[in-house]
Each structure stands twice: as C-alpha cells, then as structure tokens.
C-alpha cells in the first residue's frame, strides 16, 4: 500500500511492517466461509468471483487491524460485514438487471 524507502533485507526492513498486509491474513481465515455463502447466493461462477472481490475490497477499506483477530466475536463481526456487502451488491445487481436471466457481458 505505502512503499517505504529502505532496501529489502536491511535492518530497517526487518523491523518495518505494513498494516495492509493484515488483509491477506484475515482473507485466508474468512475466504472459505465467504465462498460457501456466495455459492448459495448464485450459481454463476463469474458472479461469485465478483462478489468475493467486492468482499475483499470492503475488507481492505474496513481495515482488519481495527479488530482483535484473536477474538472469535471480532472475526464473526467482520465476516458479517463482508457478507452484508456481498448481499448488498447482489441485490443491486438483481435490481439493475431484473428481467434478464443472465448478467450482461462484462466486456460491454
């Protein structure tokens, strides 16, 4: 997210971190359950990927370091936020494309 001017492997680098790396840690923990949920929302694999992408962006915006990730309750809350985001996007898309059986071609 925010490059810092120090050479990799240096003493400074070994003691300098980036809170955006936490997104990957948390995504590893939540991806499986989010994927299961999104499979129940739609059978369209492309739409599933889009919804998961929305959840990942939302996770980055929320900043998972805002939560105590050792706490189950915090993880559950975070999962609920991401689920809500996916449901919101899913509903909006349904409203936009109501009547059409499939989503429009993404290339259009």
């Amino acid at each position: 997210m925010r490059a810092l001017p120090h050479s990799p492997g240096s003493r400074v680098a070994s003691h300098t971190g980036d809170s955006s790396l936490a997104v990957a840690h948390v995504w590893d923990k939540l991806e499986h359950s989010l994927h299961s949920a999104v499979c129940r929302m739609t059978n369209d694999t492309e739409e599933q990927e889009d919804l998961l992408q929305e959840a990942l962006v939302e996770l980055w915006v929320i900043d998972p370091t805002r939560f105590d990730l050792r706490e189950r309750a915090d993880l559950a809350y975070l999962r609920r936020l991401l689920m809500n985001r996916m449901w919101d996007v899913w509903r909006i898309e349904r409203r936009l494309f109501r009547g059409s059986r499939s989503r429009p071609d993404a290339s259009l």
Binding site: R2, G17, S20, D63, P64, T65, A73
Partner: protein, 201 residues
C-alpha cells in the same frame, strides 16, 4: 523540568523497535514485565496487551529529568487506549488530524471504544475513501503487534498504517498540554481526570 517534546518520545520509542515479547523469556524483570510495572494498575488492562505500556514507558523516561528526579510526561495513569482517549477528551487534546509525536488511538467498532494505541512518527498523506470516509497514511511505532499490524502479536514494530478519523480514530496531542498548568491542577482533579501517581514521580 524537561519541556514536552514529540521528538523525545519518538527517539525513545525508536530504541525499542525490534524488541519483542519472547514468551519463554518472559520472566519477572524482563523488558515487557518492566513496561507493565510502570503502568501501575495492570489489573485494569487485558492480560498480555502492552501497546499503551510501551507508550507510557517511553513517555515517562523520555521526559525524565535526572536532576529533578521527576518526569514531565503528562499522560500518567492511563493503562488502556480508551483511558488515553478519556484523558484526551478531559484535557481537550483529542484531535482528528495527526502530527508527528501524537499518540494515535484506533477505534474498534465491536468494542465501541479505542482499543489500540501507538506513536505517530510521520504523517505520509491524506485522502478519501468511498462514502467520503477520510483516511491518513502514517508511519508509526507500536508495541504488541507484528509485521502486518495485528494486535497482540508481541513485537515492537515500525509500521505503515492507514487510520480513518471517519471511522472514529483519534490523535492525542499530549505535547500541547502545558506542564505548569498540569502541575497547577494537581489536587483539583475532577472525577474524570487521571491523577498522576505519586509513587511514579
């Protein structure tokens, strides 16, 4: 008395970068144990969390006058990030724009309270996220974290961190507290004020 200086806090905290909590070595008298003893009231904090303890240790000793045998660090007493927030509100120094040397307080939506604190080393930038949510990119020094900035991970790190005043994050501008006024207020503390412990002076 040493005048309040953000640079003194930053320099002192920098000396602890890389210092971590080694569970096997966490014997009485160790570095982390020393932070906890400085806190005074360890029972009010969750066990194992020492982000605020690091700030208190660095703040106290960076402003310790060895001739006068006392420290001018004004934020004594607070043992949790939320207590730091209460202190900031009571003194009118809790702000939403950071400066180097401020103590940042990160807000937790699940606890509805500040739950983490660290030291702002540099303000790298500002911006807007979706829904007009403001953010600031910072370089910080934090205790009890890791390379990805997660809480309770046992290391002191230098971190690039993005905070969002729109999400409740705030900054304690402790350097704005006037030392003489602070000393003058002793003995007239309101119920919300954190009174310096005499045994720490």
């Amino acid at each position: 008395m040493i005048r309040l200086s953000p640079q003194l806090l930053i320099v002192t905290a920098s000396a602890f970068i890389g210092v971590g909590e080694h569970v096997a070595d966490h014997t009485e008298g160790g570095v982390i144990d020393r932070f906890f003893r400085r806190r005074g009231n360890a029972t009010s904090a969750l066990p194992g969390e020492w982000d605020v303890a690091l700030i208190q240790h660095c703040g106290y000793w960076s402003h310790f006058d060895h001739r006068m045998e006392r420290s001018s660090w004004p934020v004594t007493g607070a043992t949790t990030a939320n207590e730091l927030g209460l202190f900031g509100v009571a003194r009118g120094v809790l702000l939403d724009e950071p400066e180097a040397g401020d103590v940042f307080l990160q807000f937790s939506p699940t606890r509805q309270a500040f739950f983490r604190a660290g030291i702002v080393v540099r303000v790298c930038g500002h911006g807007l996220l979706a829904h007009n949510r403001t953010y600031v990119d910072l370089l910080t020094i934090e205790g009890d974290t890791d390379e990805s900035g997660r809480f309770g991970q046992g290391k002191t790190m230098r971190l690039a961190r993005r905070l969002s005043p729109s999400a409740g994050d705030r900054f304690l501008r402790w350097a704005d507290l006037d030392v003489l006024a602070h000393v003058g207020q002793r003995g007239h503390a309101s119920s919300t004020e954190i009174v310096p412990r005499k045994d720490l002076l």
